[in-house]
């Protein structure tokens, strides 16, 4: 065999090995979130858009799925549950009662859907949000049974308009900025933004730059505790977030994929914290 042919075969063999290595090794995807018991003395927060994708009676949570939601929330055993796309305040109350007699709840019901908060082990105080443009968030002062109080804003940002959700996210963060608030702050909910290295480079809209700007605005003030733990919604999208102030030390966070409830397209996002000061 000619020496030149041997050289070419050698190069191709080397290329094959490298390509097999490159394409064959498993993709290093996001770290998977391994759900565990809530940290002792810590704080577990769950945010969940319980609306159904294409549910027969609208986008809000269907009544037939309420028992499954209750069962899941019992299993997750959170201190603070923040739900979006509820049908109304009464539906939230039914869920609260199903979880226990002492479960406190608050809701805001003046948008296209109802946003609710449930606190099996905390006291809740709803705060006013003043003048608002777009979908109004639920603003809360939360006093957990253990540890200091925290301010929480729950938002379900506009699903279709990047411009609107950008404003809503900005305004929601502005609620948490004043220095008079407690240092521990959370901004949670279905923010409807999906950014990252594998962005879609959509040729037809400028949604991505706007969403990126919104995400960056949040990321400069708060810590995205669920980052790198994979998608929170189907198909393969990360739309649900828990942004926390540095005073809250995340132990673990990520979407809980244990069970699909009906035709819902979001998973519950679980975040466990301890206070940075070890309180």
């Amino acid at each position: 065999m000619a020496r030149g042919t041997l050289i070419e075969l050698g190069l191709l063999a080397l290329a094959s090995i490298l390509l097999v290595l490159g394409f064959g090794l498993p993709e290093s995807g996001p770290d998977t979130f391994e759900f565990g018991p809530r940290p002792a003395g810590g704080l577990r927060v769950v945010t969940w858009n319980v609306g159904g994708a294409g549910s027969g009676d609208g986008r809000a949570l269907g009544e037939d799925h309420v028992p499954a939601v209750v069962e899941t929330l019992r299993l997750l055993d959170a201190d603070l549950v923040l739900l979006q796309e509820l049908r109304d305040r009464k539906q939230l109350e039914r869920i609260a009662r199903a979880l226990g007699e002492n479960v406190r709840f608050e809701a805001i019901d003046d948008g296209p859907d109802c946003i609710g908060a449930l606190a099996p082990r905390a006291h809740l105080f709803q705060l006013t949000t003043g003048e608002w443009e777009g979908r109004r968030p639920l603003a809360l002062l939360v006093h957990p049974e253990v540890g200091p109080a925290l301010h929480v804003v729950v938002l379900h940002a506009h699903p279709w308009s990047a411009r609107r959700r950008n404003h809503e996210i900005g305004q929601a963060l502005d609620l948490l900025v004043p220095a008079t608030l407690t240092p521990a702050r959370l901004l949670v909910g279905d923010l409807n933004i999906d950014v990252g290295r594998h962005g879609r480079n959509d040729l037809f809209t400028n949604d991505e730059p706007r969403d990126v700007a919104a995400y960056n605005y949040l990321a400069r003030h708060l810590v995205d505790v669920g980052a790198g733990k994979g998608p929170t919604a189907e198909p393969d999208r990360r739309l649900d977030y828990v942004f926390a102030s540095p005073e809250l030390d995340p132990v673990q966070a990520g979407p809980w994929l244990g069970r699909r409830v009906g035709d819902m397209d979001h998973h519950p996002l679980v975040a466990d914290f301890v206070h940075a000061a070890g309180e």
């Binding site: 020496r3 030149g4 050289i7 070419e8 190069l11 191709l12 080397l14 290329a15 094959s16 090995i17 490298l18 390509l19 290595l21 490159g22 394409f23 090794l25 993709e27 290093s28 411009r163 950008n166 404003h167 996210i169 900005g170 950014v195 990252g196 290295r197 594998h198 962005g199 879609r200 480079n201 959509d202 040729l203 991505e208 730059p209 706007r210 990126v212 700007a213 919104a214 995400y215 960056n216 605005y217 990321a219 400069r220 995205d224 980052a227 790198g228």
Partner: protein, 262 residues
């Protein structure tokens, strides 16, 4: 020389763009209240990331493709290849000597451009830590913070990593150079095909096609700017790029070895 001048011009334009962008987006001239990048976040290291990213994907490949095309097609059209082939040197040796020289050129080009970007960035824009956010450059999935010294070390790693990316483009140019008789045609076709593949790699509705295009992996060195470098991913992409390069070189070598020098 031309490469150095073009790089300097490119960096000047980047500097102008950088400042006008920062001014427009931070002084209230922009009506989009929550779009937010400010001057404290922009510094010399951010400038280097931006300019090197665009330079690496759009400027350096042009010079590398031109260099690769000139090596065989240029000598063919100038008929100086005949001068080399009447010496006791095999075509394989000639081919790999040219590959080695061009690969060295790519390393110098990447290093020179990086140093120039850093120099312009640090002295004209300013020193500081490197903060990266998810964005249209898709550098990162989440906010990354690197201290200045950490960032400079990462840039030192980016140099060989980016050179490897340029080698694949170079090998592609060699392949066309071995097939074509004119250096101008070979360079034009190399650059055109590179740009087409670059665009296809970046548009989401070509996602079925992306994995088989080497241009999809060229900016793999972005991983080196993460706080925790995803070494497996960086290694995978580097392996793919080298694999593509060896395939191109094998085909180019075969063509060059067997073709007739009319």
């Amino acid at each position: 020389m031309l490469a150095a001048l073009s790089s300097a011009l490119f960096l000047t334009l980047m500097l102008v763009g950088f400042y006008t962008y920062a001014r427009n987006h931070t002084r209230g001239a922009f009506d989009f209240g929550y779009t937010f990048e400010n001057e404290s976040y922009f510094n010399g290291l951010t400038f280097t990331v931006y300019s090197f990213y665009f330079g690496f994907l759009l400027v350096l490949p042009i010079f590398v493709a031109t260099e690769g095309s000139a090596q065989i097609a240029g000598e063919t059209s100038d008929r100086t290849l005949g001068l080399l082939l009447i010496r006791p040197i095999t075509k394989s040796r000639l081919f790999f000597t040219k590959v080695a020289v061009s690969a060295g050129y790519a390393v110098c080009l990447a290093g020179g451009f990086l140093v120039l970007s850093l120099g312009v960035g640090l002295f004209a824009v300013g020193w500081g830590d490197l903060d990266l956010y998810p964005g249209v450059l898709q550098m990162t999935d989440r906010h990354q913070h690197l201290s200045q010294s950490q960032a400079l070390l990462r840039f030192a790693l980016i140099w060989p990593a980016a050179s490897l990316g340029l080698w694949t483009t170079l090998a592609f140019a060699f392949l066309l150079s071995a097939w074509m008789k004119s250096a101008v045609n070979a360079a034009a076709v190399s650059i055109s095909l590179y740009l087409v593949m670059h665009v296809v790699s970046g548009v989401h509705f070509f996602e079925e096609l992306r994995p088989i295009l080497f241009t999809s992996y060229l900016a793999y060195w972005r991983g080196l700017l993460q706080e925790d470098v995803p070494w497996t991913q960086v290694g995978r992409d580097a392996a793919k790029l080298l694999g593509f390069a060896f395939v191109f070189l094998a085909l180019a070598h075969r063509r060059f070895r067997l073709r007739e020098e009319l």
